[in-house]
């Protein structure tokens, strides 16, 4: 089991069962550095559950999740984050009562203990980093705005920015373009292609146009198992995939 790999993420024989129902069943998934992987599949295929398992929100029944050869299944959520795994939720999950600036500042990876937070001071370095990220996620002009007032698409970007500021080596995004306009989708695709460099990214998405734009490799999940894996073209022409998913 404890094989050394070169992959950033190596998921092996991962199973989680909720009262006997196997939401994820013997899953094997390997993601490389610099790779942008898209996971697709019909509703209830277990896509979000896989992300939940990797980031520690749900505990695996059996199997192993290795991140840079470190086992994640035994760590708690905040330890997994500190190890370098960032996760964006399906619905934008931001702090509506705080400003965009404060949202990013809180996510900056420093002083994450109780006493550290009391003593925390806004340094030039943090300020610069916040502004840098804000520019990257197209929100440089909204830094002082209360985050709750942003448009839906902007909230999605803000949450991506909150992950980017932590500079994770593995970034997991659950439906990052849901509710976005066509133009916002294009901008997001461009953003994802840019940030995938130097790290690994896993994206769950339904929008096939968008998937084509970003995916290096696509994994199709069905009933907790992998149905197909490969390039978008290969997957789209796979009869099994067409039957369970694309044909519907």
């Amino acid at each position: 089991m404890s094989s050394e790999t070169d992959f950033t993420l190596a998921v092996e024989d991962l199973t989680v069962s909720f009262d006997g129902f196997k939401a994820v069943d013997g899953l094997n998934l390997y993601v490389d550095r610099n790779e942008l992987r898209v996971v697709i599949g019909p509703n209830g295929a277990g896509k979000t559950t896989v992300l939940d398992l990797i980031c520690g929100k749900t505990k695996a029944t059996t199997g192993s999740i290795k991140f840079k050869n470190h086992e994640l299944t035994t760590l708690s959520e905040h330890e997994i984050v500190r190890a370098g795994v960032g996760r964006k939720f399906q619905t934008p999950s931001i702090y509506e009562n705080l400003s965009v600036y404060e949202n990013l500042e809180i996510s900056y990876p420093a002083k994450r203990g109780v006493w550290g937070c009391l003593a925390f001071k806004r340094t030039a370095e943090i300020d610069q980093r916040v502004r840098e990220i804000a520019t990257e996620i197209f929100l440089q002009d909204s830094l002082d705005m209360e985050a709750g007032l942003l448009s839906h698409g902007q909230k999605q970007w803000l949450e991506i920015g909150m992950l980017l500021i932590q500079d994770p080596e593995l970034l997991m995004l659950d439906e990052p373009v849901a509710g976005m306009s066509v133009k916002e989708r294009e901008q997001t695709a461009e953003l994802l292609n840019r940030i995938a460099k130097g790290r690994s990214v896993i994206v769950i998405e339904h929008d096939m146009e968008f998937v084509k734009n970003i995916a290096h490799k696509v994994t199709v999940l069905h009933q907790g198992k992998i149905l197909a894996e490969g390039s978008m073209d290969k997957v789209q022409n796979d009869p099994k995939v067409i039957e369970v998913y694309l044909g519907h």
Partner: protein, 386 residues
């Protein structure tokens, strides 16, 4: 300097609100009330500590504790134990079968001072215990609850149960705690008669100063990154957790801070009122404390003080005139706050007070500025102030 002004005083708005409160506590009330009434206000202001602690914990942290009375009571009991030991010197208790122990112990056939009473001989230890005992209990409860992710309504119910348990424990262990009567007949502190008018006046001012100090401390916490994190946790706990923070540690910390703040109030209560009893520990006083904070505005530290004052004035007034009506009135008040002005008096002030003030300023531009309206609930806009 500007950082202190901005963060701890809360900028111009916050500083004005605090100045009005300080003027009310230190000048207006002492000058207009006799010592009996002033002592009564002092008692109300000890509840304000608990209300302020709930603003931190509930308003900002979203953690509703229905057991702040426990910590208020523990602080009060620690102080009472010290004062009782001083009042029970062998000379004073010569007629007892065992001189030198508190009278209620003698009545309960105890012949020796229990071990946990002994360190309370020392005033230094007592001051330490007033903060440490409630903090320790809060820490234990906090670890047991928050590490297991118990939150929301469940946490509130458990704190309420703890309030009930502690009350039953105190009442049941009459020989050790003074039982239902509490610890009474407290007279002197290092020979200084706390019942004298001059002492009452001094304690009133000390209480006011401590309260202002606690508000400043709370503002410091809320204006730090920890304060923003509290708001963030209240909104999206999972996001905070998945940003690499151990959420439970922050909740435990805030719960301990709130416990210590309440305990200071309890200790000052004992000093000013001259006794401590289980009736300030249980479910009812704990819920009253929540009502003080809710009426004043759960997002406003200063509002909570006004909430404690106003509700208690109302309680004294109504329970003198219509004793059986008061509970219904208070229940009605709480429902009204929740339904019609969820941000309490501070919220009303923010909504209407600022407009009215601006209008007043416009009307009175030429003549001298108007006298400071005392009944103005000078609650500052919660976010900026805190």
């Amino acid at each position: 300097m500007t950082a202190i002004y901005k963060h701890i005083l809360g900028g111009k708005q916050g500083a004005i609100g605090l100045a009005i409160l300080a003027a009310l506590i230190f000048l207006v009330l002492p000058l207009s009330l006799d010592i009996f009434r002033l002592n009564l206000v002092g008692k109300y202001l000890t509840y304000a500590f608990a209300a302020v602690s709930l603003v931190l914990l509930w308003g900002y942290g979203g953690i509703l504790s229905l057991g702040q009375g426990v910590f208020f009571g523990l602080g009060g009991y620690c102080m009472a134990m010290f004062l009782k030991l001083e009042a029970s010197s062998p000379e004073n208790t010569a007629i007892q079968s065992t001189p030198g122990i508190p009278d209620f112990m003698d009545w309960n056939q105890l012949t020796q001072l229990p071990w946990f009473w002994q360190p309370f001989d020392s005033f230094g230890f007592t001051l330490f215990a007033i903060l440490a005992v409630p903090a320790l209990l809060a820490y234990i409860i906090g670890v047991a609850m928050f590490k297991r992710r118990v939150g929301g309504v469940y946490f509130s119910i458990i704190t309420q149960a703890i309030a009930a348990i502690i009350t039953i424990l105190i009442v049941g262990q009459q020989g050790l705690t003074g039982g239902i009567n509490g610890i009474t007949d407290l007279k002197t502190l290092h020979g200084w008669d706390i019942r004298a008018d001059s002492a009452k006046l001094f304690l009133y001012y000390l209480n006011g100063a401590l309260l202002i100090g606690v508000i400043l401390l709370s503002r410091f916490i809320l204006s730090s990154k920890l304060g923003r994190l509290m708001l963030a946790m209240r909104d999206k706990e999972d996001r905070v957790r998945f940003s690499g923070y151990d959420v439970s540690n922050f909740k435990i910390f805030m719960f301990c801070v709130a416990a210590m703040i309440s305990a200071v109030g309890g200790a000052m209560f004992t000093l000013q009122v001259g006794f401590m009893s289980p009736s300030f520990v249980g479910i009812v006083p704990s819920i009253e404390m929540v009502i003080f904070a809710a009426v004043g505005g759960r997002m406003s530290l200063i509002g909570a003080v006004y909430g404690a004052l106003i509700v208690n004035f109302g309680k004294t007034f109504f329970s003198e005139s219509f004793p059986e009506l008061w509970l219904f009135l208070m229940g009605g008040l709480f429902i009204a706050v929740v339904m019609f002005f969820p941000n309490g008096l501070a919220g009303l002030y923010e909504k209407y007070g600022n407009q009215a003030l601006a209008k007043l300023k416009g009307m009175l531009r030429k003549p001298a500025p108007p006298a400071e309206p005392v009944n103005e609930v000078a609650a500052t806009p919660a976010r900026e102030a805190a």
